[in-house]
Amino acid sequence: MRYVIIGNCIAAAGAVEGIRSYDQKGEITIIDGERRGCYSRPLISYLLAGSKGAAGLHYRSEAFFARNQARVIPARAVRIDPPAGQLELDDGMMIDYDRLLLATGASPLIPELPGIEHPRVKTLYTWKDAEEIAALVETGATAVILGSGLIGLKAAEALHQRGMKVVIVEKQEQILPRLLSPWSATIALRHLQEQGIQVLTGHQAVSISESGEVELDHGAKIPAQLVIVAVGNRPNQSLAREAGLKTGKGIIVNQYLQTSDPDIWAAGDVIETHNILSGAAEVMALLPLAHLEGYLAGCNMAGQAVRYPGAIFLNAVHFMGMHIIAAGEPNRSGTVLQWQQGSSSLEMTIDGDYLLRYIAINLPGITGPLTAIVEQQIRIELKEWQEFIREPSMASLPAAYWAEMRRWEEHGGLRCG
């Protein structure tokens, strides 16, 4: 059996583990378009900040791939020929496959702005990006960051640590709009400002001049040494589309992570994932899902039939000493409970007897159970949550959670995987 994986990132590593769980003999080939090995994207901001060396970026070492007998080819795939079971690389080489996994990931969105092609306008998405930005860092100079999502904030933190003045420009009225509620965003914003980062919400850039000056929609001009564009990502599905696979916002897969071609699977940031809470298929470009999806796809490529039940939105991010963890459905409303003490806070949205979403700031300890409660839709009455939120802690988690936990221990198995 010849397994070929396009992309050498988190999902690819998961797929190797999945395949090797059931097939020790098959040939595994990984097409590494970035030619950097299997590294962890979230760590590039640490590389930029200087807190982590290049050696620390690898998600799985070369030894891992050697041990699992996976051949890594540093090349970019340019075309898939499903009827022939072949793949064409940028150097003209043809690779035969029996089972193919598309783990092509995503790329940053680039808004159409005058001056966006300026050499000091960068994205922070790849190892190479981080190196290029690092070369432009100038202590004391200003860096403008367009977008206050996870990448924007991690970029802000890294550049701030490198001694730059950082200005974040966010189109929405709050920072981290996809992650936080207005209430929790205010808490996070205050923290950013206290750390010396300037944040302009409700504004967007309209142009970037030749000198690098960023002009905003209300006319303000910010002279910048460096502009980081971090306004979102988009799945890399051109290969899939050209090969005639079904695509939407991302590649469409069934519950076994199989595409419309039965010999081709897809995993990671490039696919549409079933959102357990909304029931819709959405692009959920989240690292924790990438490994699981890769792993399950790998298992299925090796002949298993393991279902992927889908996922919920969840994210953990920390910047400048603040830890934010949030999970659940941001777009549905319900009863909101809030708790705040010192620098910690917790917000929960409850609909009927179900927890829809939580946002925990500097309160990481209890988030694992909360995520499980959201994901597994464990039924817990509002009044129990009202009791819990008076003093949120492991010991005060509702009894129904512990009962469910005991059930898992006794009978084994969560609803996932």
Binding site: P42, V317, H318, G321, P364, G365, E375, L397, G413, G417
Partner: protein, 147 residues
């Protein structure tokens, strides 16, 4: 393989936590040195709830969500099936904390990394919590949590 906690016989004394802390971070089981000179941190917490208490330790899940979620590859499973963390590679993002359904993985005291049960894999013999439980409420089982 994992440590099983039996609330039926847990006294809530907390000796498991103490010996766990002293078994890690290079204290080599020396309680006095750990607690008099160091800043020991137990790998698993004792939960006291109404009249019951138990050690909320790692289930060392099959297809562990924490390993799936780890950003850096610091969380791994060894040949014996023990889920352990390579502290050097952990950046303290707490993604694993967020996805551990049992709430076992916890931030380190300085918040720069996470700590979790490693079944005392660096030491000889059975895990410290099991060997020092005064009432046999903790036991090492071969049974694996299926997830």
């Amino acid at each position: 393989m994992r440590v099983q906690s039996n609330p039926e016989y847990c006294l809530g004394c907390g000796l498991c936590r103490l010996y766990c802390a002293a078994a890690h971070d290079g204290y080599d089981g020396n309680l006095l040195k750990a607690f008099k000179r160091g800043t020991p941190q137990p790998r698993a917490d004792l939960i006291v709830r109404n009249d019951k208490s138990w050690l909320n330790t790692c289930r060392h899940c099959h297809n562990a969500p924490c390993i799936n979620a780890c950003l850096t590859g610091a969380l791994q499973k060894d040949d014996q099936g023990i889920v352990f963390i390579d502290s050097q590679r952990c950046v303290g993002c707490f993604t694993c904390v967020m996805v551990c359904p049992f709430g076992h993985i916890q931030p380190s005291r300085d918040s720069y990394r996470v700590v979790k049960c490693d079944l005392c894999r660096d030491q000889k013999g059975i895990p410290a919590c099991v060997s020092f439980c005064p009432n046999g409420a903790l036991s090492l089982t071969e049974e694996v949590e299926t997830r």
